[in-house]
């Protein structure tokens, strides 16, 4: 795909072979999500309506990431080969094929291919980044103006994550260094890693802790930041070193289906908005046939002290590898994990629990739980193929390693 970046697998677009879903994005406030398919069309599924708009644009090629604008009804930013497309969808419209006139084109010379996007949680700015452009762009989408955030060294940006409180941004580069930007004065802290580039990362809801993984290591690192108070202008406030909070090296598990080996590098990682569940895709060893990629779920607590307890695994149909994971941003009864499998299926796995703490992020709305949908089929007819309801919810954690019964698809 990107010959100059050979050896890089982009976090948002994993090995494209056998991949059917290019990108997935939940709307931050409603029961609505967008799925980018292999043919670069985007479908928008909504729990309240049967119409599934399909978005196509001549510039919409090699979709690598999507993001819904927060504090907005229906604006979707799409990272494409040559530009960022911003779709303005009418939430009340019944049209299944919005015209390409609904899309704003944000392009900047030298800024392509765009592979990562992040909206500010306040909904005012959009960040876009490309692995080949050393500059990260901050867009004012309404006026289509951008400001380049330039630095020297380290190459482009492969992964972006804006902390839920809006104060910091993680920007991973293709080299063994990543940066944490402070989002008020836009200064950054540089974090060299020992082995490889930062593969993925996620923020705690209050933006005080960053979990990240490094290519070539099967551990999760944690980096804590001093609590954000507007006075410390221009300081990121990271602690001196990152600490290892989980070791995910390969382990053998006794399951209903026999012995299975799970463990290895972390491919992607998401933290639910309440900060109580953490889901990671663990990539198995490609050499050993037994080792399979799996989605591992952890129970987490961020305060008063950080805790990370294993909780269980999620497995799809036989042979299906998990490719993208995402948490529903406002699931009222707990957390709702969405997994896109290599078979082209998307499953929603609810976790029912009572939150220990009120979420720090904006108060959530109360949407209805969503059944699982197949991206190709229309929602009502497509039979849910994975677990729904309490049957699949993760049971109480068993401490001391990965000794949980595997959750498998029925």
């Amino acid at each position: 795909m990107f010959p100059h970046l050979s050896g890089l697998t982009l976090p948002c677009a994993p090995s494209r072979a056998g991949c059917t879903v290019r990108a997935f994005a939940w709307h931050p406030h409603t029961n609505k999500f967008a799925v980018a398919l292999l043919d670069d069309s985007i479908r928008v599924y909504n729990s309240n309506s049967a119409t599934v708009p399909s978005l196509k644009h001549r510039l919409q090629r090699n979709v690598a990431a999507m993001a819904w604008k927060p504090l907005c009804a229906s604006i979707l930013a799409v990272a494409c080969q040559s530009c960022v497309l911003v779709w303005h969808l009418d939430p009340t419209s019944l049209s299944t094929r919005p015209s390409s006139g609904c899309a704003q084109v944000l392009s900047c010379p030298g800024h392509s291919p765009v592979t990562s996007l992040a909206w500010a949680p306040s909904g005012e700015r959009l960040l876009s980044a490309s692995p080949v452009d050393t500059a990260m762009l901050v867009w004012d989408v309404s006026t289509e103006t951008c400001v380049q955030l330039q630095w020297f060294g380290g190459g482009g940006v492969t992964y972006l994550a804006w902390s839920p409180d809006g104060s910091k941004v993680l920007a991973a580069t293709p080299s063994a260094v990543f940066r944490v930007w402070e989002a008020q004065m836009w200064t950054c802290e540089r974090w060299p890693t020992i082995r490889g580039r930062c593969q993925t990362g996620c923020w705690s809801p209050d933006g005080s802790r960053l979990l990240f993984t490094v290519l070539g290591e099967s551990v999760i690192y944690s980096l804590s930041f001093s609590e954000y108070r507007g006075e410390m202008q221009g300081q990121v406030g990271g602690s001196k070193t990152a600490s290892i909070v989980a070791d995910l090296s390969e382990t053998t598990f006794e399951t209903l289906y026999g012995e299975e080996r799970i463990g290895g590098e972390v491919h992607s990682m998401v933290w639910d908005p309440t900060g109580e569940r953490l889901a990671v895709i663990i990539r198995g060893h490609p050499e050993s046939p037994n080792s399979q990629p799996a989605v591992a779920v952890f129970r987490t607590r961020n305060s008063p002290v950080f805790e990370l307890l294993p909780c269980g695994f999620v497995r799809g149909e036989r042979g299906a590898r998990p490719q993208l994971i995402s948490f529903h941003p406002c699931f009222p009864q707990g957390a709702l994990l969405t997994v896109c499998w290599s078979s082209g299926k998307i499953s929603h796995i609810p976790f029912f629990f009572v939150g220990a703490l009120e979420p720090h992020a904006s108060p959530r709305r109360s949407p209805v739980p969503v059944p699982a949908w197949h991206p190709r089929a229309s929602p009502p007819s497509g039979a849910p193929h994975t677990c729904t309801g309490a049957g699949c919810a993760a049971p109480a954690p068993i401490k001391g390693g990965f000794s949980l019964p595997l959750l498998s698809s029925p």
């Binding site: 709307h27 504090l71 306040s122 103006t145 836009w186 904006s362």
Partner: protein, 667 residues
């Protein structure tokens, strides 16, 4: 205005911090400090000799320390200071946008601008004189001894005019004048505020490549234009200089105002280079002033000492400071509402004896009055647009009934908006507004407009309108004239007008009518002449830009207000925000309606024009899109945080419906 700012600053310095004085001083200092670097680069490039690089470099470095270079740097520092003073005198946070070509010409021949151009031309000449001195060689002196002609060995050596030098000086004046003209046309005196906060050094570094590129291209264009001008008119200054200074023309040298004379590559290169040098030093001064002036300023919320009361944010917002200070205060409000919980706490706090939420009241009142002012202005503009639409049709009486009914419907909507709860913050249902029944298809549209205008005028000067709001933006030429025009339309229906204006005195009314008719006749007569139309015709885009020219203030007011309201959900201990929540929601929703309607007008594009990434900032052209987006975001921010609790807030039924749509994420 700038002088007032500085004067005010100096008056305040006794008490405490001064907002602008230090910034200006720092900007000038930095631009003077950067001058030697530019000069060094210029000297190195002007002695360009690619075949003898070592000699070139060593010569250039030797030249740097010579006394005349140091003198030139001193002289050019003076020039930079004068240019900076002009930047400070002419800056504006609200751009003035000429709505027609005539207005633009009026701006160009305005005495202020003439002085600006004249001084810049002189300064340009000075800079190029310095450039010729530093370049040395054949450009250095105005008078040189003539080439001795053969055969006459005993002739007295005569002084001849060095046309190259004259060419250089004139090019400097031309460049200075062009700079001044483009400064005006491109609204370069406008101070755009950056979309993200960054340190000054980073902002400067980010703009530097653009600045260099822009100077090179601009200099190329200016020099090309100058060559053309010199080709046609170059003989005039030449002959004049020769006669006044008693110089001869050297017959041996090619005159420069010929084609072959101008095709001198070295001359062109040096002219271009000195042009780049001139533009770069001036643009650096301009850029630094812009960066320093728009840097965010930290205003205290509550005074630590009693003397500092007039520097506090609520006080500044409610007083009538220079516009730049007001902009900085609103920017600070936006930043504190978003990033600083401690300062938000101060906003929500109660006064110590008495327990009144003075800070919050002052801040919210000012923001609301700004927003309702904008609402009124937009309504007036929509009026004007509707009226202009009506005028485009065959004028008197001939318009089709469909058209008329359409118009009356529209004006009806406008009326409604003008009578909406914004004007009367009571919860009166909108349907009872007295003007709404006039909109039958049989009444004249002009009549309705008239009503609308009256309705608009009253709150405009009424108590709702804050007297402190400054409207320094360009007068909306459209609205005034078109309303008058409508008035005259209206008078051409004697029956209808008699029915309506029965109570008014007849005699003055009649004279007024007659005058208006005459005025209208003259206007129609003039508008038939194509040339005059060319100058008078208003660019629709420009008039829309003019309406939104100060929208940056409103954007910050919206952001600040909505962030504060959202934060109050968890941080407001005394419930001070709750009391103003209905008023805030009413204002925002009314504005939302009006803005929505604005974007549905004809001639109004719904997408921002593409902005090229050039040095000249044209962000004022897209402010209305930013306003629309931040208005929606502001409403969503409030509804998302408050959720179902908003049902308990008292707003009119229409607004309740609208709020419900926001709650369901369907807007």
């Amino acid at each position: 205005a700038a002088r007032a700012v500085i004067g005010r600053c100096q008056a305040r310095r006794r008490r405490g911090r001064c907002v602008l004085g230090w910034r200006v001083a720092a900007a000038i200092t930095w631009s003077v400090l950067l001058l030697p670097i530019c000069t060094a680069a210029f000297i190195i490039l002007s002695g360009l000799d690619p075949f003898h690089p070592v000699r070139w470099i060593s010569n250039s470095f030797n030249d740097l320390y010579t006394s005349y270079v140091i003198f030139c740097i001193f002289l050019m520092s003076m020039v930079i200071i004068i240019i900076s003073i002009f930047n400070i005198e002419f800056y504006a946070v609200v751009p003035s946008i000429p709505c027609s070509r005539l207005a633009l010409i009026g701006k160009i021949i305005h005495p202020q601008q003439v002085i600006h151009s004249f001084v810049h031309a002189i300064m340009g000449m000075l800079v190029t004189w310095c450039a010729t001195v530093m370049t040395k060689g054949r450009f250095q002196f105005l008078a040189v001894s003539c080439t001795p002609s053969e055969g006459l060995e005993d002739a007295v050596p005569q002084m001849c005019l060095n046309e190259y030098h004259l060419f250089f000086l004139l090019s400097g004046a031309f460049l200075g004048y062009s700079y001044s003209l483009f400064y005006l046309i491109n609204n370069m005196n406008y101070l755009p505020f950056p979309i993200i906060q960054q340190y000054k050094y980073l902002r400067f570094r980010r703009s530097l490549p653009l600045l260099i590129k822009h100077s090179c291209v601009e200099s190329l264009h200016f020099v090309r234009n100058f060559c053309v001008t010199y080709y046609f008119f170059g003989y005039i200054p030449k002959v004049w200089i020769c006669t006044t200074m008693d110089l001869h023309t050297d017959g041996k040298l090619h005159p420069l105002d010929t084609l072959s004379g101008l095709l001198d590559l070295s001359l062109f290169y040096h002219t271009w280079l000195s042009g780049v040098f001139l533009l770069m030093t001036w643009y650096i001064a301009w850029l630094l002033f812009k960066i320093y002036a728009t840097e965010s300023h930290h205003f205290p919320i509550q005074p630590t000492f009693a003397q500092e009361t007039d520097q506090c944010l609520p006080k500044i917002l409610n007083s009538n400071p220079p516009l730049l200070i007001k902009f900085l205060a609103l920017q600070d409000l936006m930043l504190l509402s978003q990033y600083s919980p401690v300062r938000r706490q101060e906003v929500f706090s109660l006064s110590q004896p008495g327990g009144h939420p003075h800070n919050w009241t002052a801040i919210s009142r000012e923001c609301l009055s700004l927003l309702s002012d904008l609402t009124q202005r937009l309504i007036a503009q929509q009026e004007a647009a509707a009226a202009a639409n009506g005028r485009a049709k065959p004028p008197v009486g001939e318009s089709s009934p469909i058209n008329m009914s359409f118009q009356s419907q529209r004006s009806n909507i406008v009326l409604r908006a003008s009578m909406s709860p914004l004007v009367k913050p009571s919860l009166m249902p909108v349907k009872t507004s007295p003007g709404s029944d006039v909109g039958s298809p049989f009444s004249s549209p002009a009549l309705n407009y008239k009503m609308g205008v009256v309705d608009i005028k009253s709150p405009w000067h009424g108590p709702v309108q804050s007297p402190h709001v400054m409207r320094r933006g360009p007068k909306l030429w459209t609205s005034v004239s078109d309303q008058q025009m409508n008035g005259s339309h209206h008078e051409s229906f004697p029956v209808l007008s008699a029915a309506r204006t029965g109570t008014e005195a007849v005699q003055p009314r009649f004279i007024y009518t007659w005058l208006q008719n005459k005025q209208e006749q003259i206007k129609t007569f003039l508008s038939k002449r194509a040339l005059i139309m060319y100058f008078f015709s208003k660019h629709p885009e420009a008039s829309i830009q003019a309406v939104f020219s100060d929208a940056q203030m409103h954007i910050w007011a919206l952001e600040g207000l909505s962030h504060l309201v959202a934060a109050s959900f968890t941080e407001d201990q005394f419930g001070v925000v709750q009391t103003t929540l209905p008023a805030i929601l009413n204002t925002l929703l009314t504005l939302q309606e009006v803005v929505d309607r604005h974007f549905k007008l004809p001639h109004v594009s719904s997408k921002p024009p593409r902005i090229s990434g050039s040095l000249v900032d044209t962000s004022y052209k897209t402010l209305r899109f930013a306003l629309r987006a931040s208005l929606k975001t502001a409403l969503y921010r409030i509804t998302t945080v408050f959720g179902e609790h908003l049902n308990a807030v008292q707003v009119s039924t229409e607004h309740k419906k609208r709020l419900q749509q926001f709650l369901e994420y369907k807007e």
